[in-house]
Assembly symmetry: C2
Homo-oligomer: 402 residues x 2
Amino acid sequence: MALIVKKFGGSSVADAQRVFNVANIIINDYKKGNDVIVVVSAQGDTTDDLIEKAEEINPAGASKREMDMLLSAGEQISIALLAMAIEKLGCPVISLLGWQAGFNTDSHHSIARIKNLNTERIRNEIAKKNIVVVAGFQGINKYDDITTLGRGGSDTSAVAIAASMNADLCQIYTDVDGVYTADPRKVDTARKMDEIAYDEMLELATLGAQVLNNRSVEMAKKYNVELEVLSSLENKPGTKVKETVKMEKTLIRGVAKDSNVARISVVGLEDTPGVAFKIFNKIAQYKINVDIILQSVGRDSTKDITFTVPRDQGKLAVEAIESIKGGLNYKDIVVEEDVAKISVVGAGMESHPGVASKMFEALYDAGINIQMISTSEIKISVLIDAKYADKAVKVVHDAFIG
Amino acid sequence: MALIVKKFGGSSVADAQRVFNVANIIINDYKKGNDVIVVVSAQGDTTDDLIEKAEEINPAGASKREMDMLLSAGEQISIALLAMAIEKLGCPVISLLGWQAGFNTDSHHSIARIKNLNTERIRNEIAKKNIVVVAGFQGINKYDDITTLGRGGSDTSAVAIAASMNADLCQIYTDVDGVYTADPRKVDTARKMDEIAYDEMLELATLGAQVLNNRSVEMAKKYNVELEVLSSLENKPGTKVKETVKMEKTLIRGVAKDSNVARISVVGLEDTPGVAFKIFNKIAQYKINVDIILQSVGRDSTKDITFTVPRDQGKLAVEAIESIKGGLNYKDIVVEEDVAKISVVGAGMESHPGVASKMFEALYDAGINIQMISTSEIKISVLIDAKYADKAVKVVHDAFIG
């Protein structure tokens, strides 16, 4: 007998048939004698429909407090329907909203952080042998206002419950059956991994593998919650995410592509001290996440600074720099959005020199030019022309794994 | 400067355009310096859509606790959207769910009663000069579970707030512009009333005038809350509902039709004491509302008992009686659903004999047979064949008012 937390995304509960599919997965584990807590997102397109309604009212953007009030209705609907399906199949169940489940957050509407999770109600319901269905993505702040946790918030909700309840396993159900060494739709030699370390998963998530939300992996690592990524449509084991994993023959764990990148170049900067500080201090004030940074000497004793940001923050980054034009001499700002970042990730690579050169060789052989390079202990990333992105993933994957 | 509570039904906020229409009505009063609290129902068809989703999952009927969880999402969506529209128009506003607004109810899911209303949050928001938009129809019980107040619940929410906050006026916006002496779609001489007494309104609501929910009128009477029924589409005064109203020349206040009636006849009952008690005790145990009761002597020293119930409870009433067949001798039970109840209401009639005879005369002249009669101090009701219902309303209305 174990305590299992299961999280289902919006597509897993998109219609009545899928709701019953999920209900059966839950009941299957419950009938084996396990305690089961379920976290669920809003159904399929509900969130998009609600956003559309809000945009009809205020295209410039409603207040975040009211957006949270609106969007959190989506999970309320899905938990009630899932509970009804479990009832119908004859098992005891109760649905709980974020605040009923004890999610107390800070007041940053739309991107709230969990401050604490009061599990009293969940524990009581589990003690009554109820299956507990919790609305993901939502909580309340100290004023009793509803907050939402931002992108991937339901994953975070699930891991938070698993951590607070000392769950034996936290299963994240998605529409893929695990974590692959590369996108299996693009690379036919991609393999599903049985296990992956938290750090490797974090790099892959950051790099656009998009299987698991980063905050939830960070939290799982911090509280040592064993995760499993698996499919709600196929009944087979997925990929376990944990602290240490068995060594495998391959050096690298996966190859990821991130197309959500823009490259910003500030060209012809006066070569005086403090230029980089001025730029990145302002960028930080605008709350823009900078990834790779490259500084190079330009002509005429000027220099260029190039960096990458998430694509949708490209224009904002230009704005940020233009806002300090008075205190910063430069010739031009160039924004390039047709770029992609390709990364190899693997905890083994730090003790194995030659990973970088093997990657660069594979790209060179394929005639793909490298624009920027960034490395960490368990990752090597390169920026390339977006049109070669899929090809690059394939040739790099083949060089290491295929 | 006054404190005004305004309630808008689902059709008043059915789409973005109507939401803005309502927002403008609210802002108009707010800008005059009034404090404004708004109670709103779920948008247009939202509730029906949610019920449909639930029926897809469990056609036999989900638990009421989960239905309340599901349906209360409807008002959550509408309060957020209305608040966004008010924001967009530049006024300070905050939306509150039932539990945030302090609605504490008993645990009778789907038909919960308000136990108390903790107005602290509403008072704080009013003190901050916010327009307060409250989700009607919903509250929480002592376990922190969401409850709903049943049919017309948003009216009840509005009157409860008006009573607790000592509001100067509680305006109920509908798609009609007030209370009429008869249904204006059926009777072209029907007149809108400027004022009507609580008791008269109660009789009219019970009798199927369906402008205001009965529980809300009862509560308004109990706490002396002045109500106004008016249209959200036309900017003109509606009908005020209050304790005492000016005497008018007409004896009667209105003519109402109630088609939601079934007549049950228990025929050939043994003529022994306690028969009526046995029947109506059992009917009460089944929680069936009995309206008119008629007992008559039948043939062969038997008697018949005939009574009316809401149409959808007709079958249940038959079940109730059949369940005591062992202790009750009768020949047959006859259910007649093609009946309607026509009533005249007016506080003035008790001091004016002849109202009943004038009503019966009008029906006789029109060739309409009366099946049953019931009277109270301010009301006379007759049961007739359903197919003559509209004609009956017209001839009775013309006799008194037209």
